[in-house]
């Protein structure tokens, strides 16, 4: 199907609108949709998982240091290929193994990859040294600094200010 607007490119976006109780459907190519501001209207892309999974196939789309689609997570053996098929990750370690890909995906899905909610606080005795495991003041400072760096990178200045204040208290 060709784009309703330019009539040249293949339509990729099918926009159904309800205006005054009348339903209209428009078929647009990506360029025309972008020009009409359709794609950005919702803030969060509607089917980001599909977009993301498709983008995995394109060369050069992932960060340079990232493993390719056939590289396996050392902890569980899952590959990006597996994730593409099931939509599920194999284990917690996958988030580190495929960190670049996932950061990208999480930003598309949620509009951010920086968790700001409740933090896991295990009782000192029970936590293992696994990812996100036990803390200590020195480790906490290191983590906060890392978060601060990321917050500044992401231009999330509100969070950065909060992190800076927390760092001041700890130091």
């Amino acid at each position: 199907m060709l784009c309703d607007n330019c009539g040249e490119r293949e339509a990729a976006i099918h926009l159904t609108q309800i205006v005054d109780n009348a339903v209209t459907t428009m078929h647009l190519c990506e360029q025309c949709a972008a020009a009409k501001g359709v794609e950005t209207g919702a803030g969060v892309a509607k089917f980001p998982l599909g977009d993301f999974l498709a983008s995995l196939g394109k060369p050069g789309s992932a960060q340079a240091a990232e493993p390719g689609a056939d590289a396996a997570c050392p902890a569980c053996g899952a590959t990006l290929q597996d994730f593409r098929q099931t939509g599920r990750l194999g284990c917690a370690q996958c988030y580190t193994t495929f960190e670049g890909h996932l950061r990208d995906l999480l930003r598309r899905l949620h509009g951010s990859s920086q968790h700001v909610g409740e933090r896991y606080a295990p009782a000192a005795a029970s936590a293992g040294p696994g990812p996100g495991g036990a803390a200590g003041p020195a480790r906490a400072v290191g983590e906060l600094k890392e978060q601060l760096r990321r917050a500044i990178e992401a231009e999330n200045f509100e969070l950065a200010a909060e992190l800076r204040d927390r760092l001041k208290v700890l130091e």
Binding site: A75, L109, Q114, G117, E118
Partner: protein, 360 residues
């Protein structure tokens, strides 16, 4: 057959319609997704690993003061009908029920229930903590759930990432792992044909809607589940506040739509709700879908005070007990579809007759 009397409140405390706005908002549910660190997610777990997850959770649950008076069901050991029954009560997910079959009885799936709290083990994520409240009660519900989360988290190694937060099998749940949803009845907006606008607006503000049974389910009887779409980049309170604000707005729209209906088409509305009542009271065969739609009409009538002396509790109860596995549980012969419809009509009749007799 499991003894449902063992479940505190039958797991249906929220049916009592005691919560705020319970005439329009039936229930509030909040869930948190958690995984144990150092263990593969359930899509890639082995049988011994799933057993270990269950053993570890069991140990911690037994010690939690929140578990007092609670029960545990091992999904693998339940009869198929009982799994459906728990699903119809929204106490276990379809996935957890299905896992027992798919894994040939070694899913080690379980559900723990205590008061309004529930904990599913070995679902898509190792842990799914959930809480149900009557009416519109997001912050109360979350407060209860947070206590359980803290209890479990203080004794279990949980998969957590400094940047991404709580790690989940599906990235759509990562971060807070929090999904809050309210089950809301919107016949006014459907009848005034405003609903499409409202639903479209929801998706634009980062919320999503589903049918009665959550993900992938159809909308029946004008019941919608509204919930947050994103789980990362906002605090739990921000996610709940946002959903709460929008729900309040939707409730206001619904109330306005009902007033418009009463003002512009009073006879039509009155006729509609009484016809719905009459069919439920006297019909001899009812499909599930028809029952849901008629209950929706009657519920609207009760909300508009057109039908007096019928409690929201009774309507809530009918919503749960007219589902197939619940009817089958009343009647031990596994009924055919036609018998099921007859059994449903008979059950609805009895309940409504009892209520009418009480009111007289």
């Amino acid at each position: 057959m499991i003894d449902l009397k063992l479940i505190p409140d039958g797991g249906l405390g929220w049916l009592d319609a005691s919560g705020p706005m319970s005439n329009i908002v039936l229930s509030t549910r909040v869930r948190l997704a958690r995984n144990l660190a150092g263990m593969p997610f359930n899509g890639r777990s082995s049988e011994p690993e799933r057993r270990r997850v269950l053993d570890e959770v069991d140990r911690v649950w037994q010690r939690s003061p929140l578990a007092r008076g609670g029960v545990r069901f091992l999904v693998d050991e339940l009869e198929p009908g009982d799994r459906v029954l728990l699903h119809e009560r929204h106490l276990i997910s379809k996935e957890l029920a299905a896992a027992a079959v798919e894994r040939n009885g070694d899913s080690h799936g379980a559900v723990y229930l205590a008061g309004s709290l529930g904990l599913m083990v070995n679902e898509e994520d190792h842990l799914r903590l959930q809480v149900f409240h009557s009416g519109f009660a997001l912050s109360q519900a979350y407060a209860d759930l947070e206590r359980l989360d803290r209890d479990l988290g203080s004794a279990l190694p949980v998969a957590f990432h400094q940047e991404f937060g709580y790690l989940t099998a599906c990235p759509t749940n990562a971060g807070t792992g929090l999904r809050a949803s309210v089950l809301i009845h919107l016949p006014g907006l459907v009848l005034t044909k405003e609903i499409a606008k409202v639903l479209q607006g929801l998706t634009q503000v980062g919320l999503t809607f589903r049918g009665l049974y959550g993900e992938g389910s159809e909308v029946v009887g004008n019941f919608f589940q509204l919930s947050n779409q994103t789980t990362l980049g906002k605090t739990e309170d921000e996610l709940l506040d946002h959903l709460g604000k929008i729900v309040r707005q939707v409730v206001t729209y619904e109330e306005q739509a009902r007033q418009v209906l009463l003002r512009d088409a009073p006879t039509i509305i009155e006729d509609k709700v009484w016809r719905a009542y009459a069919l439920l009271r006297y019909a001899r065969s009812l499909s599930f879908e028809e029952t849901m739609n008629l209950l929706s009409g009657v519920r609207l009538g009760v909300g508009l005070k057109l039908i007096p002396k019928l409690s929201v509790y009774t309507l809530n109860k009918l919503l749960i007990y007219t589902q197939p596995a619940h009817l089958a549980a009343l009647d031990v012969r596994a009924p055919q579809d036609s018998e099921l419809r007859a059994a449903r009509a008979s059950y609805v009749r009895t309940i409504l007759e009892e209520e009418a007799a009480r009111a007289a």
